[in-house]
């Protein structure tokens, strides 16, 4: 009810009572007794309740009535043409569903606030200075955009801030991670992700515990017994939500830690896309750390920058105020501290940023792709709208008479428009409801797909919420109005007289022509847009095909890969080598395993190592960067990389490499001791490493690039001079193999050396006789037989790895393919609608022609000619736009030009064929028109 009507109705009752009162008084004045007077007055007035109801209805009933009426009309209209309704609803469901799905994911990735209390009070510390200091260590975990800011700080600085800024911050906390930790003591050993946090982490953020308690201040001291707090999902997944988990101990790398708490499920991480399995106090960095960190004490070194600091501003404290205080503390610590990092002139400063703005994480990779998708689905929805508008327009032509009749009977133009809009909004609402179902499925599929590229976990919280719902509601209504408005406006402009008098088949050319201009344009736009999308999809699919058909230089089928990091479990290099050999032997005895080897990196997994070498005939300071792959015995034969000349690496070569490595490390240790003994600042020279050069195998590109026109076998490759490390004896070439892809498929082949692997983590490769995935249990059994506490990670097949490295290409090919087919289908609906309309419109004319002796071919010509013209215009426009647009795709294409004639011709041909098929049904109907029925058509 409107406010206006409420105002008018508010005094109704007292008004009526007043009325009766006056009448009663009048009656008394005429000489009636008071009771009699009142009774007469009431009788004269009538039923008060009914009067009030009727008066109220004056205001209410009209619009409600109309709405019910409109809805009933709309439903009747839909029931009358179920095919039209089905096509419209499905089209809109696809359009709305795709938009909702993509928006849901964007919402999860970009728009969701950090799930802590009052996140707008939280700020993250970043430092700036004119000069990079000499730090001992600097670690970052991908929280900030390090190209712009640096949010890694030292623990001593964190302590200063915590101690000196209690008037500014209601809480300050430091955290770092997540790092990979080897967890044992709860089922099979596994790798888990752990974040270091200061004890006030949970209280500062306002994250409660569902079980147990957070860390105490005592637990963040080097002497404290190790304790951890579990992340909720880890507790659920690995500990099966065991309520008695508090107090249990687990083995982390080589220490034992007690579980004290389980954190609330709502908090996953500050940084979108990041997560951890458990939390541990900062002080545990002494027992549990990554294999790359040096032996220094990260808790006390002001030049080890490795923690992120987050503070919660007290109410009323401004960012600038807090920044000034923090900068004072920072300058004091870093200029005047025990170990100065900066001079006054370096102007070191602290910059505070709100966490929501500063912490990006994996957003940076996913977000642009999502925005691109959002544009694509937006265009798809537009096509869907124009398509449905075309269909509605065609249908409305048949309803002209109906509308004219309504207007003639006194319905206002506004009323007719409203009725038509009710119909289209009803259709779009049904479409939207169906679209939401589609979106639920689509989001599932997409997160599944995205997760595959990120260790199988999609770390964003995806759930429908008010924002997503509002988005869907808005686009649903806008869609309904957008596609309903054109036909509705047209109906409202009807000139009643001619429309009523004349049947559609005899209708004047004018309105026919007017419809066609709009309808034609809609179909041309659809055909053109779908060509653009289809050409883009075609190019992306060709790119994917090119990658698939690419020869990587080794056999990718039937290879199982898995990783081991024995160093985390406390192995020395020598023990490592022994373990690898033992495992290699054990695995090669498994039935069905043809060959086993290992390497520092697995092939085509997006990681590589490289080193600088010096060629003997080059200038003294000359250094050349080449790729290096450290391999185990039989690696080249296991991967089937063909030997071109010389020989592959033998056990004797591995012994030589191990001896050389040991000699090199010995020289380094001697130097370290000598440097400690020498007075500060004086340079201590390295001793020479007395060992044989490491035997290596090089690839064909290496031979052609660096040993042109000579036989590389037996040639020596030197190591460049480096003042900070001993100079090794270099390498000697023992064989040449064919080129194989190393880093990723897209990459050009680089000069590569295959070097014997000595120590360190490694990936194992198993060549199997049958499906490699079926060997996973055997692998686990073999590894656990060697060492129960050694986790196996990163199990996959070589084909999966290649699929993974083609993730972006596959995603784009799949999604663009989907939209290519979708838009093509929509365009066909559009054509079908257009031609059906055309045929229906001209049934009488066609009948006359046939009665006068026109042949089927003439009729076909007549009907299809216009459609062919429209298709041709659409094709030409589409190809022209595609040629202009695909230029921007050249970066993502591989071995196919953006204006690839085959793709464009193929797509155009496909569209032409599909379009003609869409025309077939109506054309057939035209040919089979029975002249007698046609003439009686009215």
């Amino acid at each position: 009810m409107s406010r206006d009507s409420k105002r008018h109705l508010s005094d109704l009752e007292s008004d009526i009572q007043n009325h009766i009162e006056i009448e009663t008084q009048d009656n008394i004045a005429r000489g009636m007794s008071p009771e009699e007077a009142r009774y007469a007055a009431m009788r004269k007035f009538g039923n008060v309740t009914r009067v009030m109801e009727e008066t109220r209805e004056v205001w209410v009933v009209r619009w409600l009535d109309h709405l019910v009426q409109d809805l009933r009309f709309a439903l009747r209209g839909i029931r009358k043409s179920p095919l039209f309704a089905t096509v419209v609803v499905l089209t809109l469901a696809l359009g709305i569903g795709a938009n909702t799905a993509i928006f849901t994911i964007i919402d999860a990735v970009k728009l969701r606030a950090i799930p802590v209390s009052n996140p707008q009070q939280l700020v993250i510390f970043n430092w700036k200075a004119r000069r990079q200091p000499d730090f001992k260590g600097h670690s970052s975990f991908g929280d900030c955009d390090y190209t712009k800011i640096d949010c890694s700080l030292s623990v001593p600085f964190f302590r200063s801030i915590r101690a000196q800024t209690s008037e500014i911050f209601s809480g300050v906390t430091a955290f770092a991670g997540a790092i990979d930790v080897n967890v044992a003591g709860n089922g099979p050993a596994s790798i888990a992700h752990a974040t270091y946090v200061s004890p006030e982490f949970f209280s500062t953020l306002g994250v409660p515990m569902v079980l147990g308690r957070p860390f105490t201040a005592d637990e963040d001291t080097p002497s404290a017994a190790p304790v951890i707090v579990l992340d909720y999902s880890f507790w659920r997944r690995v500990f099966a939500s065991d309520p008695n988990v508090i107090g249990r101990s687990v083995r982390l790398d080589s220490t034992s830690a007690t579980i004290v708490g389980v954190a609330d499920p709502r908090f996953t991480n500050f940084t979108p896309g990041k997560f951890q399995d458990f939390y541990m106090p900062l002080s545990m960095v002494l027992q549990v750390r990554t294999q790359w960190w040096d032996s220094g004490n990260r808790l006390y070194e002001p030049d080890s920058l490795w923690v992120n600091i987050v503070g919660r501003l007290k109410p009323g404290v401004s960012l600038e105020q807090a920044q000034a205080v923090a900068t004072t503390v920072f300058r004091n610590d870093t200029i005047h501290g025990a170990k100065p990092l900066f001079k006054e002139a370096d102007d070191p400063r602290i910059q505070l940023l709100y966490v929501g703005e500063a912490l990006h994480g994996t957003n940076k990779q996913i977000a642009p792709m999502l925005y691109l998708l959002m544009v694509a689905v937006g265009i798809a929805l537009l096509i869907a709208c124009s398509n449905v508008a075309g269909l509605t327009l065609a249908r409305s032509a048949h309803r002209q008479k109906e509308m004219a009749l309504r207007i003639a009977l006194g319905a206002g133009h506004g009323r007719v428009i409203r009725q038509l809009l009710t119909e289209s909004v009803l259709l779009s609402t049904i479409g939207g409801a169906l679209g939401v179902l589609l979106a639920v499925w689509g989001v599932k599929a997409m997160t599944h797909f995205l997760a595959a590229a990120h260790d199988g976990v999609f770390q964003y919280v995806v759930e429908p919420n008010a924002r997503v719902l509002a988005f869907t509601l808005v686009i649903t209504f806008l869609t309904g109005i957008l596609f309903g408005l054109a036909p509705a406006r047209r109906c409202a402009q009807i000139d009643v007289n001619p429309a009523l008098k004349e049947s559609p088949s005899a209708s004047p050319k004018s309105s026919h022509a007017r419809w066609f201009r709009l309808g034609d344009a809609l179909v041309v736009a659809q055909v053109a847009l779908s060509i653009v999308v289809a050409v883009g999809a075609g190019l992306l699919v060709r790119t994917l095909q090119n990658f698939r058909n690419l020869d990587p230089g080794f056999q990718t089928e039937n290879v199982l890969i898995f990783g081991l990091t024995p160093t985390l479990a406390g192995y020395t290099d020598a023990q490592n080598a022994q373990l690898y050999r033992g495992l290699q032997e054990r695995l090669s005895m498994v039935p069905g395993v043809l060959s086993v080897s290992y390497s520092g990196e697995a092939l085509i997994t997006g990681s590589r190592s490289s080193t600088d070498v010096h060629f003997d005939d080059g200038a003294p300071n000359n250094r050349t960067n080449v790729d290096v792959l450290r391999t185990g015995l039989n690696f080249l034969s296991t991967m089937k990389i063909p030997l071109l000349s010389g020989r592959t690496l033998t056990p004797a070569d591995f012994a030589t490499a191990a001896a050389t490595d040991a000699a090199w490390h010995a020289v380094e240790r001697v130097h370290e001791l000598a440097e400690k003994a020498a007075p500060a600042g004086s340079a201590v020279p390295f001793e020479t490493v007395n060992a044989a050069p490491t035997p290596v195998v090089i690839n064909r590109t290496f031979a052609q690039t660096h040993f042109p026109n000579q036989n590389p076998i037996g040639k020596h490759i030197g190591e460049p001079d480096d003042p900070n490390s001993p100079r090794g004896p270099g390498y000697v070439v023992v064989g040449i193999v064919g080129d194989a892809k190393y880093y990723e498929l897209r990459d050009n082949i680089q000069p590569t050396m295959y070097v014997p692997l000595v120590g360190n983590g490694a990936y194992f490769e198993l060549r199997t006789a049958s499906n490699p995935a079926s060997f996973v249990p055997a692998v686990r059994e073999a590894v656990s037989a060697m060492d129960r506490n050694l986790p196996v990670f990163g199990i996959s097949t070589q084909s999966e790895e290649i699929d993974q490295s083609l993730f972006q290409e596959r995603l784009m090919a799949r999604i663009s393919g989907f939209f290519g087919v979708l838009t093509l289908t929509l365009a066909c609906f559009g054509l079908y609608g257009l031609l059906s309309y055309e045929v229906a419109w001209r049934t009488r004319e066609l009948g006359i022609r046939m009665a006068l002796g026109a042949q089927s071919r003439d009729i076909l010509n007549l009907v299809i000619k216009q459609v062919i013209v429209i298709i041709a215009i659409g094709l030409a426009t589409g190809v022209a736009i595609a040629l202009g647009v695909t230029r921007f795709m050249s970066k993502v294409l591989y071995n196919v030009r953006p204006n690839d004639p085959a793709t464009i011709a193929g797509v155009a041909a496909l569209l032409a064929v599909v379009a003609l098929i869409a025309c077939y049904l109506p054309a057939r109907r035209a040919i089979h028109t029975d002249p007698i029925i046609a003439l009686r058509h009215e």
């Binding site: 008018h8 007043n18 009325h19 009162e21 008084q25 007035f45 009727e54 205001w59």
Partner: protein
């Protein structure tokens, strides 16, 4: 009497009542009871308005913006709504009056053709 007939009669009555209200308000603002009294009085008590039906009619007229309502005080010192004619209502009254004259004239001609002939 069938429902349909009854509906038609009410329609007629409503339309007539609307016209009568507009005509009454031409003399100046009045509250509900005064309007009912005026109609009865001016028709020499021939037209007995069922007073309750006045209110839906008044609200219908407000909604069409032919009359407007304002708060005032009635003769018994109570707060009451006073209704007055809007310019739009005045125009409508003109139109309706002319229509009514035509209608009444036509009916009269059909019912009393002899008299009409005598007069002309």
């Amino acid at each position: 009497m069938s429902t349909k007939d009854e509906l038609q009669r009410i329609e007629m009555l409503q339309g007539t009542l609307d016209l009568l209200i507009l005509r009454t308000l031409l003399l100046g603002p009045a509250h509900g009871h005064a309007i009912a009294k005026a109609i009865e009085f001016r028709s020499d008590e021939v037209l007995q308005v069922e007073q309750g039906s006045l209110y839906p009619a008044l609200h219908r007229l407000i909604k069409r913006k032919w009359i407007s309502a304002a708060d005032g005080t009635s003769e018994n010192n109570r707060r009451a709504k006073f209704y007055s004619l809007t310019p739009k209502g005045r125009a409508q009254l003109d139109l309706e009056t002319r229509k009514w004259d035509k209608f009444a004239g036509a009916i009269a001609r059909i019912l009393r053709p002899a008299k009409q002939e005598n007069e002309s």
